[in-house]
């Protein structure tokens, strides 16, 4: 379709960009500058706030901790979701509709509902303040989303391919390894992206299940911000650094994002 250039996306882009710009500006100011006067650009840009974060393990380990549980979660979610997505896409079995519905419902559950039982379960297991506790907790929303997206990608593969694999004498395992996984590789990447996103941005469970050893950056920011006279530039710098993993992923995934956002099933 040909259409006239419109200003609307540009204006919306401005609405997105301005607060991001402001986050960056605040991170480059000193506390004195930020509370003393209003300026659209930092008058004396400083990297002092970033230096604080990079020199204090209490800060920078927060990013490491978050990355550890997020990557664990992505690995678990994608691994268990692939066979499940294949079953939903290809087989008709007893209870398939009910199971799909149950998965959907868990995706929509509030972390607040599950926080208390998670605290109790993981204390009983001696897993409070470990990365694996947060990684498993985040599965309740990421496994459903992973199954959902991957099911769309598996459904998009023509059945004739399954048929010819069967004629060629592939076992189910051989078919998975040699045929299915290479074909849905973009789908796996999109799924991993989404699991990363939802786990990376979550605060309540990640903060509630950790104390010190596995405290993620979100929890550290939450604590630093709850004191009186919170250091805004320092928090802004922590926020800017928190955007970087997502930014890297977006740039790598930019071609597949549109399809991923439609959960692999727009067409």
């Amino acid at each position: 379709m040909t259409q006239r250039r419109s200003l609307v996306p540009g204006l919306y882009a401005l609405f997105i960009a301005v607060p991001l710009y402001w986050l960056l500006v605040m991170s480059l100011k000193t506390n004195a500058e930020i509370t003393g006067s209003f300026a659209l650009i930092p008058l004396a840009p400083t990297l002092e706030n970033f230096a604080v974060i990079f020199s204090d393990p209490a800060w920078y380990l927060g990013y490491v901790n978050a990355l550890i549980y997020v990557l664990m979660n992505v690995a678990i979610s994608v691994t268990v979701a692939i066979p499940a997505a294949f079953a939903f896409a290809r087989y008709r079995f007893r209870g398939d509709r009910v199971l799909f519905f149950v998965l959907l419902t868990f995706r929509m559950m509030a972390p607040a509902i599950l926080l208390v039982p998670f605290v109790q379960i993981f204390s009983d297991l001696g897993l409070i303040d470990t990365h694996i506790a947060v990684a498993v907790a985040h599965c309740f929303f990421n496994v459903p989303i992973a199954v959902w997206i991957l099911e769309g990608f598996v459904s998009g593969i023509p059945r004739e391919i399954d048929e010819s694999a069967r004629i060629d004498g592939y076992s189910l395992v051989g078919y998975f390894r040699r045929i299915l996984l290479p074909l849905i590789a973009p789908g796996i990447a999109v799924t991993a992206f989404f699991c990363f996103m939802f786990s990376w941005v979550e605060v309540l469970l990640a903060n509630g299940l950790t104390v010190v050893a596995a405290k993620p950056i979100n929890g550290i920011m939450s604590r630093a911000g709850s004191v009186n006279a919170a250091d805004i530039p320092l928090l802004a710098a922590a926020g800017v650094l928190g955007l970087i993993p997502g930014l890297v992923l977006i740039v790598f995934m930019r071609r597949h994002l549109a399809r991923g956002f439609s959960m692999g099933r727009v067409v």
Partner: protein, 294 residues
């Protein structure tokens, strides 16, 4: 393949996901249901109290108010984000470098941790430090964060900033799936832009729009971090939403029973929305009779 074999195969393929979901979904939900029917002292000994907590919260004005606030907030952000997202997606360039730049930019807020979003918008409303405060005062307006209406407006703008990109990207993906022939036929018929939207684009966007409504409704309905960071749930309790009320009751006042009962009611609302979505979309488009060959 026979039905029995399909059943057996499916069971095998679903078991890893099933195990994980049992551990992180079903078991915790069972705990919540157990709390809601018991009273406890320090979380060690539990006493059966039947439906007492449910009777209590169903008449409690605080719970009603928090539930209504959450529903109201969800409806408000849907009313802003859905039309805005559809409109931006319709006006997006269809290809080229500019389209890629827009997509990347619109995705950034989606990957911003909620706590960063909260602090960013909290800082935006401060005098001197805050761009929003200073921009409004240039226009002669005072951004008074002690006014509940103002705080609600700030939170809606913040949520629109954070999540409208999701609606844009979903719709954008949906629009790309419409064949050019449809538009050509519309042009030959002399259809107006509105007619093209109403009779070609909107019907084709049905599924993605329902996905967008569902995700946006649920994620705004469970909002927790941002309202607390921006305004401490206030002024008063005007922006204390259901998630906060629940965590406050269960973990701060340490009333597991009442918190559990609230969680069960919360869960029932989720179940209803999920069921409506399932019957509207999923059951019609997916899980059609299948011919399995492997």
């Amino acid at each position: 393949m026979t039905t029995d074999r399909q059943n057996a195969r499916s069971l095998l393929l679903l078991s890893p996901a099933g195990l994980v979901m049992a551990l992180c979904g079903v078991v915790p939900m069972a705990f919540v249901a157990y709390y809601s029917l018991h009273d406890t002292f320090g979380g060690n000994s539990f006493i059966w109290v039947g439906t007492t907590w449910f009777q209590q919260i169903l008449v409690a004005p605080e719970f009603h108010a928090a539930l209504l606030r959450s529903l109201g907030f969800s409806l408000l952000v849907l009313a802003i984000e859905m039309p805005l997202g559809i409109y931006v997606a319709l006006k997006m360039p269809t290809r080229g470098a500019l389209a890629t730049v827009f997509i990347v930019l619109f995705t950034i807020p989606l990957l911003t941790p909620t706590i960063v979003v909260g602090y960013l918008w909290a800082a935006m409303t401060l005098p001197k430090a805050g761009l929003l405060f200073e921009a409004l005062s240039l226009l002669g307006l005072n951004l008074n964060m002690n006014n509940p209406v103002v705080v609600w407006l700030v939170l809606s703008v913040m949520d629109a900033w954070h999540w409208t990109g999701l609606v844009v990207l979903l719709c954008y993906a949906g629009l790309r799936a419409i064949p050019d022939d449809y538009y050509r036929a519309a042009r030959i018929d002399g259809a107006s832009a509105w007619a093209v939207f109403r009779y070609i684009q909107l019907p084709k966007l049905r599924t993605v729009l329902l996905v967008a409504v569902l995700l946006r409704f649920m994620d705004s309905f469970i909002i927790y971090t941002e309202p607390y960071v921006v305004a401490r749930g206030g002024p008063g309790v005007s922006t204390t939403f259901l998630s906060r009320e629940l965590v406050q009751t269960a973990l701060v006042e340490f009333n597991l029973g009442e918190g559990g009962a609230m969680a069960v009611v919360y869960f029932l609302v989720v179940l209803c929305v999920s069921w409506a979505f399932f019957t509207l979309v999923v059951s019609k488009t997916d899980l059609d009779p299948k011919r399995a060959v492997l």
